[in-house]
Amino acid sequence: MLTRPQVSRRTLLRGLGLTLALPTFDSLTPRMALGATSVAPAPGAAPRRMACIFVPNGVHVPDWIPSSTGFGYQLPYILEPLASVRDDMLILSGLTHDRGRANGDGPGDHARSASVFLTGAQPRKTDGSNIRSGISVDQLAAQQIGGATRLPSLELGCEAGRGAGNCDSGYSCAYSSNISWASESTPVGKEVNPRLAFERLFASGESGETRRSRQERIALRKSILDYVADDAERLQKQLGRSDQRKLDEYLSGVRQVERQIEHSEQESKQAAVEMDLPPGIPQEYADHLRLMLDMMVMAFQTDSTRIATMMFANAGSNRNYRHIGIPDGHHDLSHHAGDPVKHAKIREINRFHISQLAYFLQRLKAIPEGEGTLLDNCMILYGSGLSDGNRHNHENLPILLAGRGGGTIDSGRHVAYSTETPLCNLFLSMLDRMGAPAPYIGDSTGKLTGLQV
């Protein structure tokens, strides 16, 4: 729908009722110019972006994995909606999250599938005391390069955390409703309301505010943050360990808000954003997903952040898909016991999710950046932390990676890895491409080969 060539940026944005200053970037740096080995971004090149999208309950694997590898693979049924971006992505089969397995912790694969998805870390089995996972790949990137943009990272979802009850077999709901973890004990809360996401991204100034009062407000906020940080530091000295951890969380929040304020000071010359505020949470799930995906597109396009995560639904979600003719709960269905009727319903749900991804990728592809498109500068990881929802297995995960990572990824292929290859290896390769290298993450054993031909 948005594949029309030569659409001006302004036209596209006005379609959404938005006008705002867009950053300009140098042209895409061709990979050849960087030399064969380096995948790190070159200075002055367009910034790289990464997004990680989680879907719950596994997929119907036979309709997900292409029958052949390499270029020119046939899109399986679930992935058919991606036809227009097939050459912009990699299907990566055979990857594993070993730390999603029980490893002695018993049941709870759904909760683990989300908490392990971007961390690769075995979550501590607890319903409340001392929750522990690991730092997630997006937050590792944000902690290194997030300072370049107003928001270090953006965390979105379509389902709020559950308000009552147990989430999964003795795992706190924090594990099933978060994929981003700022530290091993701090999940990063996600925004599920498109209006609030928008306000956070773009409405930094109040309408009609003069420059003077804006400066005044910024100065005020800085002083307040200084004061409360001082409070927290004094308090911290008098407390026990788990209390101190809470104040660590508080202090890193303070520091991040300070950074945001500094950024908005620098941006003060930019034109004010004018756009119709999105409504609250739409009634229809598809509309909700699209609005959240629109937020990510705009966040990347305006370089408000370069790192985003999104949960299409929480782990173990039992949402129905009545709008595509499936009244059953997704989680109930995923325990299909080989029933072909349930298989058929599951793959329709999987395909529905993929069609939303296709919308997102097409939008990124329709935005020119340098000599290429915004999608060329992105790495969009999409997948589930479970392979088959019935077997609850964590190997051969359904994973795809869209975008060319600024010309460092040869997309358009299906790459099959040997079983038990850690998904975390892909994270290391993504971090390199973001200019935020890490020695290891989760159970990584090295970088993932095969992203380039």
């Binding site: 409340g128 009552a164 924090a174 409360v228 788990s242």
Partner: protein, 678 residues
């Protein structure tokens, strides 16, 4: 409002001393109330003699050290049951044995004599659990206000109900509740929201005369008094916001912030005022310009962003009298050092437990007088607080989560199968259970009414749904229930939230009852097991299909009781309407619970539960209330407190207030373990 904080400090030691004496008395009383405790060596000898060989013979093949079923390894228990740490595990083992659920039917069965002997030996271990030893009240991590608490606190602090937390990210849930300290994390996005909310709240409060008066309690008579007035206003606000007396230094730091901003802001040059102080009159004159750096506004914004406001903090030893006392305790050789909470901390715990909000003036006054710790005072406060409209918070937050009523809003039964379901019915279902819970509190009824009540609250829509005649209009009223509906388990709300979108789920219903009402949560099913096929009536009724499905004895272990409970409620469809048939099959609600407890209808099932499961139900409710009241999961030592609560409640016919009163005088509620215990 607190008087001079120094006087509080001075009286503190006395309070502590009284409190410790009181606790010692309580303690003795509790020991007397317990059955005689078998000495541990005897229980252990019995264990080695009876239990260990039994485990080796009947259990190790599945529950050995390698690849243990249900993740339960029994091989590690050779000499003792390690009961102080593993109480819950042995409780479950005993239940499984008594109910003949283990070993599974396809394994060699122990004979009656063997079973009896091993049962006695395990019971001896359970009875040897020591509540008289060192006091272990546990330790609560500093607790961030959750969304409900933030909203209510702001409402009571500034007197206007803004609901500012509506836009905050949802709070994560642990141990079934969203007020659990360890799970309430503080993410950067939240801090951003707190700062913005503080600005908005203060702006709005200063525009509302009533709210403004609540914050700006003192006004300056003359220019000279401005500084003094500001200081008084700041102190009054900060003490209420931090829920405790504050030191002069803390007030001074707020004033320093105000001075710094006033001294350096762009305002200064333009207005030509360098003194940084303006009285209330001038603030009101300020008119059009953005007034957010007026001294008191600025102070309030900072205070509402401070960790002392956003977290409920109980320090280990911040006050002099207290640390001396601790040193004495340490010298006396106590293994775990424990301190009594001070009166302000208790006022705060009470208020957040029963109101999900800050303490009111009366609680603060009692704390200032040092009277709050006395049992009669605590009990009188519980009565007063439960009668206050703010106790509605218990319905919204405790009942909303214990009964999982919060999930009702997000469920969507299939409209083709359940065309009767609409938003009006959903709202009515929710309101019924909320009104019922509120009536239990208001009328101080027995909590056993949750199981057996023959009345409820309906409006016309819900009455139609239940087949109750002669109820007109939208207002809810109390009615006698039809013969087969008894207690909340037959409320449409609970029946809906334990169903699938397209059909009832006896397993979910059974599991829900076991977990939330009886405290016997079944382990989750192993992965890869077969589930039922929907709609395939050629295979028989739902009940017949499920019975085939659990022909496998290792499934039957957990499913027997779960399914019996669930099938007992099959006369209620997935939205809680009465039915006699499911498809072309007649419903057969009859069943049996462990111990030959037969029932042939939903009402009989409820009667069996109310009579036979009274202990399990009241224990579960007490555990849930204690978890909620403390904001932490319970550990093995908390069972001593739960026992005391149950004794107390049983003596008062399990009235709701009796449970609450017993909780607020329990050790975990009034004491705190210190750093070393972490």
């Amino acid at each position: 409002m607190f008087g001079v904080s120094l006087s509080v400090l001075m009286s503190y030691r006395t309070i502590v001393a009284i409190a410790v004496m009181g606790a010692a008395l309580l303690w003795d009383a509790r020991v007397d109330a317990q059955p005689p405790i078998p000495p541990v060596p005897e229980a252990d000898a019995l264990f080695v003699q009876q239990v260990a060989p039994f485990l080796a013979k009947h259990c190790y093949s599945c529950h050995g050290s390698e690849d243990a079923e249900a993740d339960l390894s029994l091989e590690r228990f050779q000499d003792s049951a390690n009961i102080q740490e593993e109480y819950a595990l042995w409780q479950r083992v005993l239940r499984m044995l008594e109910e003949r659920e283990m070993p599974p039917a396809d394994q060699p069965q122990p004979d009656e004599e063997e079973l009896h002997a091993v049962g006695l030996a395990v019971q001896a271990q359970l009875d040897s659990f020591d509540c008289s030893g060192e006091q272990r009240p546990g330790r609560v991590t500093i607790r961030r206000l959750n969304r409900a608490e933030y909203n209510n606190t702001i409402r009571d602090l500034v007197g206007v109900d803004f609901q500012p937390a509506a836009d905050f990210p949802s709070d994560d849930v642990g141990h079934g509740f969203d007020n659990i300290a360890d799970v309430l994390s503080m993410s950067p996005i939240l801090l951003e929201k707190y700062l913005a909310a503080a600005e908005t709240i203060v702006d709005q409060a200063f525009e509302d005369p009533e709210a403004r008066a609540k914050i700006e309690r003192f006004s300056a008579e003359s220019r000279d008094q401005r500084r003094e007035t500001l200081e008084k206003n700041v102190r009054a606000f900060v003490e209420r916001a931090f829920r405790r007396p504050v030191s002069d230094e803390e007030v001074e730091r707020v004033l320093t912030l105000v001075d710094a901003v006033r001294g350096s802001g762009p305002e200064r040059g333009r207005r030509g005022r360098g003194d940084g102080q303006r009285g209330a009159d001038e603030q009101r004159e300020a008119g059009q310009r953005r007034p957010s750096n007026e001294p008191l506004r600025l102070a309030c914004t900072a205070i509402l962003t401070s960790p002392h406001f956003l977290f409920r903090i109980e320090q280990d030893a911040e006050q002099e009298g207290e640390s001396e006392l601790l040193t004495e305790a340490a010298a006396a050789g106590d293994a775990v050092s424990v301190r009594p909470l001070n009166d302000y901390e208790i006022a705060t715990r009470l208020a957040y437990f029963l109101w999900s909000s800050m303490p009111d003036e009366e609680l603060f006054d009692l704390a200032a007088k040092g009277e709050l710790r006395q049992t009669p005072t605590l009990h009188a406060q519980v009565e007063r607080m439960l009668a206050d409209p703010k106790a509605r918070a218990l319905v919204d937050n405790f009942a909303g989560q214990w009964l999982q009523l919060r999930d009702v809003a997000s469920l969507s039964p299939d409209p083709e199968r359940y065309p009767a379901f609409d938003e009006e019915l959903r709202a009515a279902m929710l309101q019924e259970t909320e009104l019922f819970f509120a009536a239990i509190i208001r009328e101080d009824r027995s909590v056993l009414d949750f199981l057996g009540a023959d009345f409820s609250y309906v409006n016309e829509r819900l009455a139609q749904h239940y087949g109750i005649a002669d109820v007109q209009g939208q207002e809810f009223r109390r009615v006698a229930l039809p013969a087969q509906r008894r207690g909340v388990l037959t409320h449409a709300s609970i029946l809906l939230l334990t169903s699938n979108p397209t059909r009832t789920s006896p397993v979910k219903r059974g599991q829900w009852i076991l977990d939330n009402f009886l405290g016997e949560p079944p382990p989750p099913p192993p992965p890869g097991i077969e589930e039922l096929e929907d709609d395939d009536e050629t295979l028989g009724s739902l009940r017949e299909r499920m019975e085939q499905h659990r022909a496998n004895p290792s499934c039957a272990v957990c499913h027997r009781q779960m399914d019996a409970l669930g099938f007992g409620l099959e006369n209620f469809d997935a939205i809680g309407a009465w039915r006699e048939t499911d498809g072309r099959f007649a419903i057969d609600p009859a069943g049996e619970l462990p111990g030959n407890q037969h029932f042939s209808s939903p009402a009989e099932l409820m009667q069996v539960l109310a009579e036979q499961k009274r202990e399990a139900f009241t224990r579960r409710l007490a555990e849930k209330l204690l978890t909620y009241g403390l904001g932490r999961g319970l550990g093995p030592y908390d069972r001593c407190a739960v026992n005391a609560v149950l004794d107390h409640a049983a003596a008062e016919e399990f009235r709701f207030s009796a449970l609450v009163k017993a909780i607020v005088i329990s050790d975990p509620f009034l004491f705190r373990e210190l750093k070393g215990a972490e």
